[in-house]
């Protein structure tokens, strides 16, 4: 697993490619209307995160980053969909969002602005850190974080919302694997477990909402406001 000095530029370029594709999947999750397509994009994103971790592991000879890659390959494409099948109603896969909060071109334009903002935020940060931390991971990770948060605000269906949450974590991790390489393995495992608990709890909640309101468009729940309560009282 030792990389020769000639291989290092190649590994860095491949890592940049993985990070670039990661950003693309984040954009896709903002725009895709089909819930199942969002899941596929999320799985692709997680695999790209794992690829980036593996490449950085080769580059910096870090057995620990291989662990991160492995955990990602096992949990996200395999256990997350399995857990969703067990907890949430099957309906969440088949849903299509007809009326979105924003139409797709507008959402993508805002997403683009966010990604550019993330770049300008990330570059000075990376420059303040020692040279071995440099690379595209931090700016793209921040972009992933922002786009995940943005997904949460524009989507209404349960599955894209849940995936938005997990994508935020992916974004934080993409930045993390380049700047926080020596994080204890215990912590990594705990974070991975935590992601699975998120899927489980959200799945259970979505099922309860679906049983109760007959829809998985959880974003449309909006009765808890002062004005609404007042109207009810009258």
């Amino acid at each position: 697993m030792m990389a020769t000095t000639t291989m290092q530029p190649l590994l860095e370029n491949l890592n940049a490619l993985a990070a670039g594709l990661f950003l693309l999947t984040a954009f896709g999750m903002v725009a895709m209307r089909q819930a199942r397509a969002c899941l596929h994009l999320f799985i692709a994103q997680s695999l790209l995160l794992a690829a980036s971790a593996a490449l950085l592991a080769l580059r910096f000879h870090s057995a620990h980053l291989f662990g991160v890659a492995l955990v990602n390959v096992i949990t996200k494409p395999v256990i997350v969909p399995w857990l969703l099948r067990r907890t949430a109603p099957a309906e969440i896969y088949t849903r299509r969002e007809i009326d979105q909060v924003l139409n797709v071109p507008t959402a993508l334009a805002i997403a683009l602005a966010l990604a550019i903002g993330a770049y300008f935020l990330g570059i000075p940060l990376v420059q303040a850190l020692p040279p071995e931390y440099r690379g595209p991971n931090v700016p793209i990770g921040i972009a992933g974080l922002f786009l995940g948060a943005f997904t949460l605000t524009v989507r209404r269906e349960a599955l894209p919302l849940l995936l938005g949450l997990l994508a935020m974590e992916n974004g934080a991790f993409l930045a993390g694997i380049s700047v926080a390489r020596d994080l204890p393995v215990l912590v990594e495992l705990a974070i991975a477990t935590d992601g699975l608990i998120i899927v489980f709890i959200v799945g259970v909640l979505v099922r309860a909402v679906a049983q109760h309101a007959g829809t998985t468009a959880v974003g449309e729940l909006a009765s808890l406001k002062e004005a609404a309560a007042e109207a009810e009282a009258k």
């Binding site: 974080l145 919302l161 935020m168 204890p184 935590d194 002062e226 309560a229």
Partner: protein, 494 residues
């Protein structure tokens, strides 16, 4: 004895609560027992720390990178144990009311114990990323408690709670990873709260500042700081009342504790302005919450908004500087004990009248004297009426602010506190003493037809126990607690 022992009782109780049992006392019994055990352990721990002993010194090197207990953590642990115990007592009677299947009750008590476990782990752990994970766990363990009533509103509240808290947590994770990078950029050391303080001068300032802001926003969402507070009134009003007491009384404080841990770190970084950020965000929260208090129509939301206000007060106090630290710590204690009492009073009122609408509750003192009196005391206590606990701590903060010559901030804080006082008391006064509109009053002579409302024994007991610190801490602070507060306040500066 290893301090981690404190975490065992709630975990075991959670496992035991899942066991189906035909005896109705089984789940509440194990929960209560576990909470009492935790209370005894934490009191003992706090006592030793107040006496100057180091409780984590005896642990092996394998532990010191993961676990740490000082005055600040002991204080938070003590409050969690106290509120968890009174809320468990209140749960016994409260959960008996209404149609609840044994299965739902098992779910309730198992989640209750897991929630207490996750909160207890926060002040015990020393490694920031692990702390982040247990912060996530508090959200996940309490989500199903918020949605417990399974109504449309409760599900919506739980959903908002989960999505917004986890969204904040995503940012916070990035912040903690960045902090780790900042620390390792200046030379390695154990990634713990104390390690961070030691490494602060060698960190690249820009990275550390960004990390702090990201964490402040991320965790601030879960604390309920304005403008990230939108989920809080929903979740803290829709959950069953004992859970509200936990959420509002102690969960918010526990998360705020994580932010407070970063204050001494940021003091070591030039140009970090952490205190200014705390002051601005704190005052914004107090002001917004005070004004929003005036227009609520649901009395549980009233107390939920008051939580936003109090989190703001604590953060403002921290921002005012070192001399207000003691007041901030005192405010943490008084808010926790008082707010849990408030939600018990609100729960008792809900049991008595069956509605959460302020407009539908009039003359409570005649219909249900115990609930009415409790609600009145709660309203007075939480807004800082003189002989009660919150008055003393708010007074300490304002005095410290004036001594620091922060006239503008202190003046604004005082103004907002007064507005909040009128906001809360206006509603509470009408509910307790008001007379219903003419026609309604004529056809509703409650004493004759329905008979006086009887509060379940355990609810009354919880109210009584919770009222003791609310009243006592207003006139007298025991010496060990005073020592603990001093140590906790010292943990806020380098």
């Amino acid at each position: 004895m290893n301090v981690v022992v404190i975490l065992w009782p709630p975990l075991i109780a959670a496992a035991l609560a899942v066991i189906p049992s035909r005896r109705r006392w089984w789940q509440p019994g194990v929960t209560l027992l576990s909470c009492l055990l935790v209370l005894v352990l934490t009191v003992r721990l706090a006592w030793r720390i107040a006496a100057g002993a180091s409780v984590t010194a005896g642990l092996g090197p394998g532990w010191s990178n993961w676990v740490m207990v000082d005055g600040l953590s002991a204080l938070i642990l003590l409050l969690i144990a106290l509120v968890a115990t009174t809320a468990a007592i209140f749960s016994v009677g409260y959960m008996e009311h209404g149609e609840r299947t044994p299965r739902r009750l098992r779910l309730y008590y198992a989640n209750y114990n897991l929630f207490v476990f996750s909160m207890l782990a926060i002040p015990l752990l020393a490694e920031p990323t692990l702390v982040w994970i247990v912060v996530e766990l508090t959200t996940l363990c309490s989500a199903l408690l918020v949605s417990f009533e399974n109504t449309h509103e409760a599900l919506e509240a739980a959903w908002k709670y989960v999505v917004l808290s986890l969204m904040g947590a995503g940012f916070a994770l990035f912040g903690f990873l960045l902090l780790f990078a900042a620390m390792h950029a200046g030379g390695a050391g154990p990634y713990t709260w104390t390690g961070l303080i030691a490494a602060a001068p060698t960190m690249p300032p820009l990275v550390a500042q960004t990390a702090f802001l990201v964490i402040l926003i991320g965790l601030g969402t879960k604390v309920g700081l304005v403008p990230m507070h939108t989920w809080l009134p929903d979740a803290h009003s829709q959950a069953p009342s004992p859970v509200c007491a936990l959420l509002s009384g102690i969960e918010t404080t526990t998360i705020l504790y994580v932010i407070l841990r970063l204050m001494p770190v940021m003091q070591g970084i030039p140009g970090a302005h952490a205190a200014t950020w705390a002051l601005v965000l704190g005052l914004t929260s107090v002001g917004t919450a005070a004004l929003l208090l005036l227009q609520v129509t649901d009395y549980k939301r009233l107390f939920a908004f008051s939580t936003v206000e109090h989190m703001g007060i604590i953060l403002t106090a921290v921002g005012l500087g070192t001399s207000a630290s003691y007041g901030a710590m005192q405010q943490i204690v008084t808010h926790s004990v008082t707010k849990s009492f408030c939600f018990f009073a609100a729960g008792a009122t809900l049991l008595a009248v069956g509605t959460r609408q302020i407009g539908s509750v009039r003359g409570l003192i005649r219909r249900a004297p115990a609930a009415g009196a409790a609600l009145l005391l709660a309203g007075l206590a939480i807004t800082g009426a003189p002989p009660l606990a919150v008055f003393l701590s708010e007074f300490a903060i304002l005095r410290a602010g004036l001594l620091q010559r922060q006239y503008l901030a202190t003046g604004l804080l005082a103004l907002f506190i007064v507005i909040a006082f009128f906001g809360v008391m206006l509603h509470v006064n009408r509910m307790v003493f008001g007379t219903a509109a003419g026609a309604e009053a004529a056809e509703d002579p409650p004493e004759e037809t329905a008979g006086p409302f009887r509060l379940p024994f355990s609810c009354a007991l919880a109210l009584l126990l919770a009222a003791i610190p609310v009243i006592v801490l207003g006139v007298y602070i025991p010496a060990p607690l005073d020592e603990l507060l001093k140590q906790a306040a010292a943990a806020l500066s380098r």
